[in-house]
């Protein structure tokens, strides 16, 4: 069939939009930050996300990817204590910050949240769990700092950016409530 036949389509992905594939020119930087309490340096191109740097450069595979564009929360880590999405954070922007991942939760022995998730059966496939744990840890720390006890509804709202497909959230909320009780006003973090 000739190319000018109206039923013939010549297709190159993105070509119609004039998009040129770019794989050259890497602006690689050495980024230094605190990772789970330790100073680290990692060489990352400017277009790499923190998620990519953690998983594929630093070997911290606990942080998961479920959508890579902000929709699911699987990649949640803490930066300077706050829960953020590592898939929408450029690695270079972590320079000088305090990054915490699930690997840094409860070093030495499980964090009360991890124990509570385990007790309650809050992890089924466990793929959303690292992100859930990081959101929950940030939320509980913040509430404690403010001297507040969170209601189940507030906990659900705090986990509103973390999708779970297995549990129906029932046991996740149970677990965070249990951990909150255990953490109480005490000094554990």
């Amino acid at each position: 069939m000739p190319d000018n036949d109206p039923n013939v389509l010549r297709h190159r992905l993105g070509a119609a939009a004039g998009q040129q594939a770019r794989s050259e020119a890497r602006d690689v930087r050495v980024v230094a930050f605190t990772l789970n309490g330790e100073s680290v340096q990692v060489a990352a191109p400017a277009h790499w996300t923190l998620l990519e740097a953690l998983r594929y450069r630093l070997g911290l595979i606990g942080t998961k990817q479920g959508c890579d564009k902000g929709d699911c929360g699987a990649c949640t880590v803490r930066v300077d204590g706050e829960a953020v999405l590592s898939c929408l954070t450029l690695a270079v922007m972590a320079a000088g910050r305090r990054v915490e991942t699930v690997e840094g939760l409860g070093v030495g022995r499980p964090h009360p949240l991890q124990r509570a998730f385990d007790d309650c059966g809050a992890a089924q496939c466990g793929f959303c769990t690292p992100g859930m744990l990081m959101s929950a840890a940030a939320m509980l720390d913040q509430a404690r700092a403010a001297g507040r006890t969170l209601s189940r509804m507030e906990i659900a709202a705090g986990l509103g950016g973390n999708l779970c497909r297995c549990t129906g959230y029932v046991r996740i909320l149970d677990a965070v409530e249990q951990a909150q009780r255990e953490l109480g006003g005490g000094g554990e973090r």
Binding site: H11, L13, G14, A16, A17, G18, Q19, A21, R22, S23, E24, A25, R26, D27, P45, A46, H47, W48, T49, L51, E52, Q65, D68, K69, G70, D71, G73, T76, E82, A83, V84, L85, L88, T89, L90, V92, M93, S135, M139, A157, G158, L159, G160, G161, N162, L163
Partner: protein
């Protein structure tokens, strides 16, 4: 993974430096605040940027301050203020609680920890035909906002009518907020109500290189009542499918209307403003709720741009306006 394409990043520490960088790189460069709007769009190859100019280190963009001036007080909000900060800030909560609420309803907790107010006002317009993968847009044959020749929302339409899907703009317009901008040609201010255009491809009044530095929000008088309402399918994560702010200015002496406005978002690129002057003298009751709901319904035509049934969004808008008015009425009684 949705890998970003290789790019260069700059981290200026002052507005002057940022603007100079932008002048140097021109259209290849984009300002980058929280990145929660920009990075997904870059990852989907919806937009391209070879150079990102991060605003995170620019101290001049930070800070929340209540400034007293002759008429009353004004809230000065740095454009880099994060939405979670805005939602929790005691000053904001006490002076303009509706703004704290609106900021607290954006996206998800993690996104709010990253997203900035400036980004929330400058975010790109959205449409079911554009916020998609490259494969989808290729299959579609593109549209005016990508590489195509027609709009699929308004077939035969000449312009892009993608929706401004921000949660804070309608409210801030209703509050009479102004933006302080700084660009290569110096500073200027624009009322937010005049900041947006009807062109979904270039929907803000920002001139090349201009940065939103600060948002100034007049603190409403005690007799002014403002409510912001959002509807989305899910109670978290989702962009608004209906976003509307209702402002009722009351006579300080008696609970009757003297003026006000309804500002409707998520229509096209520009929020619609509906002045309420002709309702002056009305009391704040169910009849007014119904009337204002009908007004919003009659004067707004949600389009099939964002991914939800447009007719329902219009119905829903009517109800949300009613509920805003009812809520104000209840607060007057309470």
């Amino acid at each position: 993974m949705l890998r970003l394409r290789p790019l260069t990043l700059h981290r200026p520490t002052s507005l002057a430096e940022a603007i100079a960088l932008k002048s140097e790189y021109g259209t290849d460069a984009t300002y980058f605040a929280g990145g929660t709007d920009l990075l997904p769009n870059l990852k989907l190859l919806q937009v391209d940027a070879q150079v990102l100019i991060a605003l995170a280190d620019v101290a001049e963009l930070r800070g929340i301050e209540a400034v007293d001036d002759d008429g009353g007080s004004t809230l000065h909000l740095g454009a880099a203020t994060r939405l979670s900060t805005l939602a929790a800030d005691p000053v904001v909560r006490s002076l303009v609680p509706s703004l704290a609420d609106a900021a607290g309803r954006v996206a998800s907790p993690q996104v709010r920890n990253m997203a900035t107010l400036g980004g929330n006002l400058c975010l790109d317009t959205r449409c079911r035909y554009i916020n998609q993968s490259q494969l989808f847009r290729d299959a579609l044959g593109g549209c005016l906002k990508s590489h195509g020749k027609e709009c699929h929302v308004v077939p035969g339409g000449q312009g892009c009518v993608a929706a401004l899907s921000t949660d804070t703009a309608p409210l801030l317009i209703a509050l009479g907020a102004e933006l302080d901008l700084l660009g290569p040609d110096g500073p200027r201010s624009v009322p937010l109500g005049r900041f947006y255009s009807t062109d979904g491809l270039a929907h803000t009044d920002l001139r090349p290189g201009e940065i939103v530095v600060r948002v100034r929000v007049p603190v409403p008088a005690a007799s002014t009542h403002v409510r912001n309402r959002k509807w989305a399918v899910r109670k978290s994560i989702d962009f608004p499918l209906v976003a509307v702010a209702v402002r009722l200015d009351l006579d300080p002496a008696a609970p009757v209307l003297t003026g006000g406005r309804i500002v409707v978002g998520v229509l096209g690129p520009r929020p619609r403003q509906l002045p309420l002057d002709r309702f002056a003298g009305a009391s704040i009751d169910e009849a007014l709720a119904l009337q204002l709901g009908d007004l919003a319904f009659d004067r707004s035509r949600p389009l099939p741009n964002v991914p939800y049934d447009a007719d329902y969004r219009r119905e829903r808008l009517r109800v949300e306006v009613r509920r805003a008015v009812r809520d104000i009425a209840a607060s007057l009684e309470g």
